[in-house]
């Protein structure tokens, strides 16, 4: 089977979820759509289980933070249909004070650690996740370090002031 054209994919999603799927871009041929957290589970389940599409491979889950936007935290899913060799990117944007989204672990076992990593770095809470703990950072960390307001280096350090380096 050949690659599914982005238009076909978009049309299929549009018919199944009318008005709930927005196309964001098709950068470098990879279709990116946005949806809401209310239907994200259904969208992912449809993409995975539909006999034509068969996006059975969850490539990645990650997030992105745009502090200036009203919906500041975006959760990004990369799916891959191995039989048709098509990729799709699905995004869900959440407001920073209500970062809840349903888990994808019901569809893919592999989503477990990907969601833990996303929680660890962005504080996205995946409702229904069996074991939502920090994974790479220490357990008693209180911040979510990949958010943009978190500085790369500890601002309280005194050994790296600019004047030590003639700046």
């Amino acid at each position: 089977m050949g690659k599914i054209a982005n238009e076909v994919l978009l049309q299929a999603l549009g018919e199944k979820f009318p008005g709930q799927i927005t196309e964001l871009n098709q950068d470098y041929g990879l279709l990116t759509v946005e949806t809401g957290r209310e239907q994200i589970s259904d969208v992912l389940a449809y993409l995975k289980n539909d006999p034509e599409l068969k996006f059975i491979f969850l490539t990645d889950i990650t997030a992105i933070h745009y502090p200036e936007l009203e919906k500041a935290v975006g959760v990004i899913y990369h799916l891959h249909s191995l039989t048709t060799n098509t990729r799709i990117r699905v995004k869900v944007f959440l407001s920073a004070d209500d970062v809840h989204i349903p888990t994808a672990t019901t569809l893919w076992e592999g989503a477990n650690w990907m969601e833990r990593e996303t929680y660890d770095f962005f504080g996205v809470i995946f409702d229904g996740h069996p074991d939502l703990r920090r994974i790479l950072n220490v357990d008693d960390m209180t911040v979510f370090p990949m958010r943009k307001e978190f500085p790369l280096e500890d601002p309280n350090r005194i050994d790296k002031k600019d004047y030590f380096f003639g700046r």
């Binding site: 470098y28 969850l58 060799n85 592999g110 990949m146």
Partner: protein, 403 residues
């Protein structure tokens, strides 16, 4: 008389014991901790703790210009860092719309396939060590050393290579490098045959690995496995064949698959991949002869640093040097996902660019991280010694696991 309990066969142990496997256990080959609940020799359940060498690469990358992120990728899978380097260069090239000359693509393929061989040598010979066969390891290390010498000839370093630049290579391969590559091929052709005759039909090795940690294709896909361990379950997913990058479509190679996804199948798949890598390098060496021999990078002055002597003597080169170093070059506002077939599976780079000199967000899809999460669930009911060889055949690299 005796204070401690004595267990015999007729007096089964009623309590489970806890075993800390790692973080610095010699049999885990890296910083992995697994807290195992043991019933005698059998694992009842396990919890993996990771993150011991987390270095916040994704955060650092947001503060680095594109060309300074390459050294970070070295430190992901440090057994095959050239693949990571090339994957990153190709991601940026995809973002910027740079097409590289064919000769650069072939040079990259030579380096990437050498790196794949070096990685598989480590994995398979260490698997031998963990099953009690030290001989293969002692013989195979010389070929990895020969490959590291090729790296050394090309870029000057061995482990964290930082090979290549955005748009191509920092310098051309010299004659010594080509000679060394050809020598690796002839020597390793013999060496791999020897290694295979030592292991493939070795009764002890086969008994020890056949049927251990067998995984079905459904489970492997559900856990998003990729790379040799997915192919060992019978799924022929290889990024090089599915989405060819760096002119892999010009080459003739096979994607080996296994049958039942056990440790032995993974071993055979990796061995066969080394043969295929050698085929690829041989083809690349032939193809490279037909290309003009002085081309080793694309003509992208806005991203490829000019040679130093030109910077001092040529106005235009000086301007470009300044623009690149000061980050004055415009980049498109776009997002790009690029995947390469790393030694452990699909190594993906998800780059969101806002037009600046450094990524707005960079995420590494690290195969080791994703492959390793099945380790604790699949260890249930397994013997401890089987869990050890299962871990070495997963080839989890701590640097890639923790990023």
């Amino acid at each position: 008389m005796q204070n401690h309990p004595v267990y015999t066969d007729n007096d089964p142990q009623t309590e489970h014991s806890t075993l800390n496997l790692g973080p610095t256990h010699p049999a885990t080959h890296g910083v992995f901790q697994n807290v195992l609940e043991m019933d005698g020799e059998r694992i009842v359940s396990g919890v993996s703790t990771i993150g011991y060498i987390h270095r916040a690469f994704e955060k650092i990358a947001e503060h680095r210009p594109f060309y300074q992120i390459t050294p970070l990728t070295d430190r992901l899978n440090y057994c095959s860092s050239p693949i990571n380097n090339m994957g990153w260069h190709m991601t940026v090239e995809k973002l910027l719309g740079i097409t590289t000359p064919k000769r650069v693509d072939y040079m990259r393929i030579i380096i990437m396939e050498l790196a794949r061989i070096a990685d598989h040598i480590v994995c398979n010979s260490i698997l031998g060590v963990d099953t009690g066969a030290l001989t293969g390891f002692t013989y195979m290390m010389q070929y990895r050393e020969a490959i590291y010498e090729v790296y050394e000839e090309i870029c000057g370093s061995r482990l964290t290579t930082n090979i290549g630049r955005i748009g191509g290579f920092e310098r051309n391969f010299n004659d010594i490098a080509f000679r060394k590559i050809r020598k690796v091929l002839t020597d390793f052709n013999y060496g791999l045959k020897e290694f295979e005759s030592l292991f493939n039909r070795n009764r002890i090795f086969v008994d020890r690995t056949r049927g251990v940690a067998a995984v079905t294709a459904e489970d492997a896909l559900s856990y998003s496995w990729s790379g040799p361990i997915l192919r060992a379950t019978g799924v022929d997913y290889d990024v090089r064949a599915m989405e060819p990058y760096s002119s892999y479509e010009d080459f003739d190679f096979e994607v080996p698959v296994g049958d039942n996804g056990d440790v032995y199948a993974r071993f055979l798949v990796r061995n066969e991949e080394m043969w295929q890598s050698m085929r690829l390098i041989e083809q690349a060496l032939v193809k490279i002869e037909k290309e003009p021999s002085d081309i080793f990078h694309a003509d992208v002055p806005a991203f490829y640093l000019p040679p130093k002597e030109e910077v001092y003597n040529n106005m235009e080169a000086l301007i470009y040097h300044f623009k690149i170093v000061m980050g004055e070059v415009e980049t498109p506002t776009a997002e790009v996902y690029h995947a390469v077939e790393g030694a452990n599976g699909e190594l993906g780079f998800y780059l969101v660019n806002d037009g600046g000199r450094s990524p707005y967000r960079l995420h590494f899809r690290r195969p080791s991280f994703i492959n390793y999460q099945m380790y604790a669930p699949m260890s249930r009911g397994m013997l401890l010694s089987d869990a050890i060889i299962n871990m070495s055949s997963l080839n989890v690299i701590a640097g890639e696991l923790d990023a």
